[in-house]
Every structure is written in structure tokens, then in C-alpha cells.
Amino acid sequence: MKRLAVTVTAVSLLALGACSKKAPEQLPPPPAAPVQTAAPVAAAPQAPGMAPGSQGHFRQAMSGRDVIYFDTDQYNVDAEDAAALRQQAQYLLQYPNARARLEGHADERGTREYNLALGERRANAAKNYLIGLGIPATRLTTISYGKERPDALGSNESSWARNRRAVTVVVE
């Protein structure tokens, strides 16, 4: 248990190092806390009710890396996305009973039906990457919300960048 938590910390450190151009401006900065606390305990802080393998626990452990972002009309996984997905995969390998749903989204500047298909494509890109990292396909499902569930509410480039995304959600 403790050893695995250390691994998660290590992966997140790697991921921070690999951070590249694509992080949308409005994203909260990645927390710096794990770097300081070398003690393995702090890797996946456990709030009351946050059972390991739960969505709350997963989100906390990912600290923002439960979401990957895409360029306009694109669905390829770039280096930054790959780092986030590796961290997700690490978690899913650590908790083999956890299943994950990949939710694909698009920004509002496209037509509704196409965006549903595009969201599905993005969700599958994330899913396939996780499969490639050894997560069994049977533990992963996809769903597209197209442009129907924006995260950022503005009508500007930075909001659209935040909405072109695939979100990994742990389902129990």
C-alpha cells in the first residue's frame, strides 16, 4: 500500500516535468505539495469517506490529471495527455477493482451531432491509451456528451480549450 502510493507520487513528479504548451490558461496550477512531502503518506491524501478506488479518492490523487485536453477538432494524445493517462493507468493498476468511464467532450463551436461523434472519438482515444498501458478493456467504458456539458462557461478561446476534453471518472 505505502509502496504503491510512492509510485503515484513519482509518476506525478514525472508528469509535472513533462508539462508542455497545451495546458489551458484557466487551469488551476498543479499543486506543489507532493513534491515537498516525501513521506509516502501524503501521496493520496485520504479525506473521510474517500475510500481508495473511489471517484473522490481518484480525483484527489490525480490532482487535475483526470482530464486531458485536445486541440480544435483533434483527438490525438500528445505528450502531456500521455503523462496524465500514465498516472491514471497507475492508479487503475493499483486498484484493480476500480472501473473507469471516459467522458468525451467538445467545445461549443461545432454542430451538435458532429460534436457527439467527436466526443466519442476523444473518449476512445483516452480509452485506447489506457488499454495500451495494460488496463483491461472490460474495466473501461466511454460516453460522449458532445458540447452539451461544458466545464468552462465563457465563449472564448480559453474556455473552449478547457471544454475540448476527456474526463476519466472512476465508477464503483
Partner: protein
């Protein structure tokens, strides 16, 4: 310029095609004792449009008369009050089309029952009315209403057309729409479209948690009804050609899937059973098949399935997103959207999937193609920064924008192929509303809906 020419050709066609009116239902000779209505002197304005050579036709639409004023389920005040309402519905139908300059019953004297078949020519002529709509409402012994509709040319002092219909009292508005259709068709030479319905998505709530419900209404916004309760997101409805069913996308089972909702029974069924998401449903013109798109491992293709269930036939197999097919009116071809070239563009293929070729080559992206019921145009969403509604010929040429909004998308055709409706989204708030515009890009107007609205789907003219 374009508009003037189009309208002028409409008008000349209509006048040349003038034929003696066929009496589908002749009213009984009204009692000669009925007193003639007092016709007050009020001006009937006739305006000349800014474009110059088109003059809207002035049409007087006074209240419909009745032979016996009695309460009915359509109007508790009586058939005289109902006659006023019917004329008002006709007035509202005709006033937004840019062809006519109607004057409604609120501003006109009320003709007597016996004047319906023998108008007071002098009085109407003095009002500068070029055309006159007269009609009557008669309560029947079986509880139904009989509505007669007459169109007169005031200058020629001649009847142009007449027709009558029997409706259950709850359907009285349909009689008004039928009358408006009769007038519109006779004067424009175009096919009717008012007696039709629209399915759409009603939207409420904040942008990130918007509730989307399936809803229906008449072409003028009346008889509005929510079909789904909003617990599951509903999108992209399409009325079946006979209005008995609506095919649409619902998240009711968690995943987006296409259902056929039966309006009579209120029950719905999956179009096809699949683990994969299904989307973008469309009816074939004969109502026997449904086109849909299905995403398998992220790759979306177009399929066809019999409405009653059965084997799906895959029509496209490109590695890109193929979606949103729309049949030509004769059912022989399908226009659809694909990003196989790298961006969304419009393609056409045979109804069996054969001979797929790209139609759109005018820059930007092109999406949501809908074949006109007349077959002569394809409406679509042109994405080039903003989203705008545009039309092109079925050969891909002659692209014209009809709108210039920030985000106008998903056009649907009026049953006569002369008007398109679409939905418009406001930046930031994401508020949506239904709009319509005619083929010349004129007469843009917002449709009244009780809440936000998107994904309009206009059905055919009712029989």
C-alpha cells in the same frame, strides 16, 4: 434584388395560373333576412417594400361569420368569437411571409353570414383591399365544426378559390391554417405549409447543467406540449412523415441512444439494440426506414434500419466521422456529413451507400445537410469561425448564406421548401432560440417558444 426577382416570379406564376375555383364544399344559401354588416371606413394600408418593384398584396381578413352563435369546446363564448379567433390565426400566418400585407379582424368590420358568399365589394374596395378572405364557422349536430374559407379578388369582384373542412372542435386551429394555406398557395403559386407541426428541444437551466426536453408545437407555436420530463437529456428529434412518431436521441439509459417515441401511446423503443452509442436519426421519405449513425470504437458511420426493427445495413465505412444523412425527396440519394477529408464536409451517395462523393468545396466546414422537400436545394450549417445557415444546389454549387449570426445551426425545411428554421445560440449565456428565414435570406424572425429552444424539425403538411 434577389428577393424582388424571386417574389415577382412567384406572383406572376400565381396570376397566370389563375383557374376557376373548385368548390369542395359549397355553403348552403344563407338566409336573406340577415342584416348587412355596417362597414366602417378604416384605412387598409398597402406598403411598397424598400427593394422597389415588389408590392405586398393587401389582404383583408375579417372575422369568420357563423350561422348560429353557440358555445363549443373550441370556444365557450360561442362560434362568433371563434370566428374572430380563426381570422386572427390566418392573419398571423400570412403576415410574416413578406408576400402579403394582411389586415386582421381586430381592425376590420365583421361581415354577416350571408355576406360570406356575396361580399360587400364597394366597402372593401374603398379600403384599398386587393384581396379579401371570408369564411364561416358552423357548429354541426355531431359536435364537429365546419369551416368554410373563401378568397376573393376585390378589384375583379371575383372568387378566386374556396374550400371547406370539418374538424373536431379541439382542432379548430387547423381549419385556420388550412385557410391560410389555401390563400398562400393560390396567391404565391407555392405549396402550402402552415398546417404542419414542429418537434424541437426545449432548453432550461444554466449552460453547464442545461435541461433538454423533447417538445412539440404547431407551426405557429400553438398547442405547445412537452413530451419528456427533462430527467434525461433529449436531442435531435425528427417527426415521422405521418406525425405518429418522433425519432430522437436520449440519454435515458445513460448512454446516448436513438428511440422511436409513439405519440399516441406515449411509449418508446430503441431503434436498434447496441452497446455502441447511436445518434443523428433521420426518417426515409416513405417513413419505412431510419438512418442513424453509430460510433464503434470511436469511428462513426451511417446505417439504415427498418422502422419496425430488423437488420441494420451499414452505408459508410470511412475511418472518419460519417453522420447526419438526409434523403432526397424521392428517396434515391442521401446527403450526409463526413470529415474523411480532414474536416467536416458534405457528401452525397446513393440510398444503398454507393457512389460517395464530396459536394462542398467552398472553404470552411459544412455540416448538418438537409435536403429540401422540393429537391432543388440542400440547407446546411457553414462553419467558418461563426456558424451560419446556408443553402446550395444539389450539385454543390450556388452556395448562399441565409443568416449571419454568431452561431446559427441545424436548418430544417418548411414542408414547401421555401423557408428554413434553425436554432441560434447566444455567446456566453448559451441561450438558444428558434428562428426562421426564407430562401432569399429575408423575413428573418424568431419563433415564440415558452423557454429556450434548439434542434427544430419541421414535419410535412397534414392531410
Amino acid at each position: 434584388m434577389t428577393r424582388s426577382l424571386f417574389l415577382a416570379s412567384l406572383l406572376s406564376t400565381a396570376l397566370l395560373a389563375a383557374t376557376p375555383a373548385a368548390a369542395q364544399l359549397a355553403p348552403e344559401a344563407p338566409p336573406p333576412t340577415a342584416p348587412a354588416a355596417e362597414l366602417e371606413e378604416e384605412g387598409l394600408s398597402v406598403t411598397v417594400s424598400a427593394e422597389g418593384n415588389w408590392q405586398d398584396i393587401g389582404i383583408a381578413i375579417p372575422a369568420f361569420a357563423t350561422n348560429r352563435d353557440q358555445p363549443t369546446p373550441a370556444n365557450a363564448q360561442g362560434t362568433a368569437a371563434l370566428g374572430q379567433e380563426i381570422a386572427q390565426v390566418i392573419y398571423n400566418d400570412l403576415r410574416f411571409n413578406g408576400l402579403f400585407q394582411p389586415v386582421g379582424p381586430d381592425n376590420l368590420p365583421r361581415p354577416a353570414y350571408d355576406q360570406i358568399t356575396s361580399p360587400a365589394w364597394g366597402s372593401w374596395g374603398a379600403r384599398s383591399a386587393e384581396m379579401l378572405v371570408h369564411g364561416y364557422v358552423r357548429p354541426g349536430a355531431n359536435g364537429n365544426l365546419t369551416v368554410g374559407c373563401y378568397l376573393y379578388d376585390v378589384r375583379l369582384q371575383e372568387e378566386l378559390v374556396r374550400q371547406g373542412w370539418e374538424f373536431a372542435p379541439t382542432e379548430w386551429r387547423r381549419a385556420a391554417h388550412k385557410c391560410a394555406d389555401l390563400v398562400y398557395s393560390r396567391l404565391s403559386g407555392e405549396s402550402p405549409f402552415f398546417d404542419s407541426k414542429i418537434a424541437y428541444i426545449a432548453e432550461t437551466g444554466p449552460k453547464d447543467r442545461r435541461v433538454k426536453r423533447l417538445a412539440i408545437m404547431d407551426s405557429d407555436g400553438a398547442n405547445h406540449r412537452f413530451i419528456t420530463n427533462g430527467q434525461a437529456t433529449a436531442l435531435t428529434p425528427r417527426y415521422s412523415p405521418d406525425y405518429s412518431q418522433i425519432v430522437y436521441l436520449s440519454y435515458v439509459d445513460g448512454n446516448p441512444s436513438i428511440y422511436i417515441y409513439d405519440i399516441g401511446t406515449g411509449k418508446q423503443q430503441l431503434v436498434t439494440r447496441s452497446e455502441n452509442p447511436t445518434l443523428a436519426p433521420r426518417w426515409s421519405p416513405d417513413g419505412r426506414y431510419i438512418l442513424y449513425s453509430m460510433a464503434v470504437a470511436g469511428n462513426t458511420d451511417i446505417y439504415r434500419v427498418p422502422v419496425g426493427g430488423g437488420r441494420s445495413v451499414r452505408l459508410t465505412d470511412s475511418p472518419g466521422i460519417d453522420i447526419g444523412g438526409s434523403y432526397s425527396p424521392d428517396g434515391s440519394q442521401i446527403v450526409f456529413e463526413s470529415d474523411r477529408s480532414g474536416s467536416q464536409q458534405i457528401y452525397v451517395m446513393g440510398a444503398d451507400g454507393s457512389g460517395q462523393r464530396r459536394l462542398s468545396f467552398f472553404g470552411g466546414r459544412a455540416a448538418t445537410p438537409e435536403w429540401s422537400p422540393r429537391g432543388d436545394q440542400i440547407a446546411f450549417t457553414h462553419v467558418a469561425g461563426n456558424l451560419r445557415v446556408a443553402v446550395m444546389n444539389p450539385n454543390g454549387r450556388g452556395m448562399r448564406h441565409l443568416t449571419d449570426g454568431w452561431q446559427d445551426e441545424a436548418p430544417t425545411w418548411a414542408p414547401n421548401g421555401r423557408i428554413v428554421q434553425f436554432f441560434r445560440t447566444q455567446p456566453n449565456s448559451g441561450e438558444t432560440s428558434l428562428w426562421q428565414v426564407d430562401l432569399t435570406g429575408s423575413n428573418l424572425r424568431r419563433l415564440p417558444t415558452p423557454v429556450g429552444a434548439s434542434d427544430p424539425a419541421w414535419g410535412p403538411v397534414l392531410p
